[in-house]
């Protein structure tokens, strides 16, 4: 009995961390009416969030995050500062990659900057990849699956009760990021991101301020 329980638990964990099957819409009518969940920005916005950052085995730390995102140009600028206002990290996407203007340890690694920009892009920008599958998950949630150029896969999920979710899988099908968006009129009011890395981390983001912006920046390549 104990072995059976462990097996069920393993199956459950495994199923949560790998790509689930998407059942296509039942008939052509449903297929025609099917619309993909789209919580992403439609215009440039500036967000200020209170961010709680947690790493596995360590207590959290709270910071203030500023994000400027333009979905048309797919440009991003971001900054992290302490509650006291000291800027720990500031970067923006540029024509030739990420331009870091300030990075204080432990936020001074290239990997951190890359991950941070990727996380922000995942949260705020519609996936760039090709739409490969649409349909429903086993629990009835609506799911649209995009395959990116690098082989990774992004699922954008809408659950009737739990709000929107974004899941990023590696090219080998392993769940690397899981974003939960608030089920309110503003999906960016409250955001939770869970990251599977060498050192797992999570971000809890609560909106302080949001305002539309028009800003000329460069697309990251």
């Amino acid at each position: 009995m104990k072995k059976l329980s462990l097996f069920i638990l393993f199956l459950f964990l495994f199923s949560c961390r790998t790509m689930p099957a998407i059942n296509p819409p039942d008939d052509s009518t449903d297929k025609n009416l099917f619309s993909c969940p789209d919580p992403f920005l439609k215009e440039g916005y500036r967000f200020i969030h209170a961010i709680e950052y947690r790493t596995a085995g360590h207590p959290g730390n709270s910071m203030i995050g500023v994000t400027v995102a333009d979905p048309v140009l797919r440009s991003l600028s971001c900054a992290i500062m302490t509650a006291e206002g000291m800027v720990l990290f500031e970067a923006e996407t540029a024509s030739d990659g990420i331009k870091i203007s300030r990075a204080i340890p432990p936020f001074d690694s290239e990997a951190f900057a890359e991950n941070m920009i990727d996380d922000i892009e995942l949260i705020f920008m519609k996936p760039e990849g090709n739409l490969r599958n649409i349909g429903y998950l086993a629990d009835g949630s609506k799911d649209c699956r995009y395959r990116e150029e690098n082989g990774s896969v992004t699922d954008v999920i809408e659950n009737k009760f739990d709000g929107m979710e974004i899941k990023r899988y590696s090219s080998s099908g392993e769940l690397k990021r899981h974003v939960l968006l608030n089920k309110t009129t503003n999906p960016y009011q409250s955001i939770e991101l869970l990251a599977d890395e060498t050192f797992d981390y999570s971000l809890l983001m609560d909106l302080i301020e949001a305002q539309p912006v028009k800003k000329q920046t460069f697309k990251r390549k």
Partner: protein
């Protein structure tokens, strides 16, 4: 690594605390000005003030406003608190230093090195507390007296490299209190703190320095 950042952060906080001990007054020569500050600092027993902090950055279209308060009781009890937008409290009292941050709806003690850094910094800032502005090895202090008195602090060594370019403190000529502080972290990254409701040598309740439950 984060401890290093926090160490600098709290050094900054205590610099701000120390700044309150600057007192406007008659103009002296460069050396006498600092002697005057040291003499004036001895009369300060308690101090409290509210503050409004404006953060100017290129990424912000308008400054990010923070509000908070500050308490000091001689010789070495501090509380530096932000009410919003993100609550945090730093308390130093009886050789113990703690920092609290807002997490999941409540204030929790920061275990990431902030308090540890404060302990290190306390030894550095003891000089500030007794008005020895020109004797802290971390900063060079100069005084400029025009309509307002302005004190400029510039990092003396490499410890602040990449973090703080300079700090400008403007004193009100009439009330002899600090009017504003500008911290330049970079050319387009400035923090301005305006103090108000400053109370000198009034009773500060001991609970201000107690642990946050």
């Amino acid at each position: 690594m984060l401890i290093r950042a926090y160490r600098k952060l709290f050094l900054l906080i205590f610099i701000l605390a120390g700044i309150f001990f600057i007192d406007g007054g008659p103009s002296y020569g460069a050396v006498s000005d600092f002697d005057h500050l040291r003499a004036e600092s001895t009369r300060i027993k308690t101090l409290q003030a509210d503050f409004v902090q404006k953060k100017f950055m290129k990424i912000l279209s308008k400054p990010l406003i923070s509000e908070g308060c500050f308490f000091y009781v001689a010789p070495d009890s501090f509380r530096w608190e932000y009410y919003k937008p993100l609550k945090s409290i730093a308390i130093a009292h009886k050789n113990k230093t703690k920092r609290y941050i807002y997490s999941r709806g409540k204030l929790v003690e920061d275990k990431m090195g902030g308090a540890q850094a404060m302990n290190i910094v306390l030894s550095e800032v003891s000089g500030w507390m007794s008005g020895r502005f020109d004797q802290n090895p971390s900063f060079r202090a100069t005084i400029h007296k025009n309509a307002d008195t302005r004190i400029t602090l510039t990092p003396a060594g490499r410890s602040m490299t990449g973090m703080i370019e300079k700090i400008e403190i403007t004193l009100s000529p009439k009330s002899e209190t600090v009017k504003s502080i500008k911290i330049f972290e970079g050319s387009d990254n400035v923090t301005q703190i305006n103090f108000n409701n400053v109370k000198l040598n009034t009773v500060v309740h001991p609970s201000v320095f107690q642990d946050v439950p």
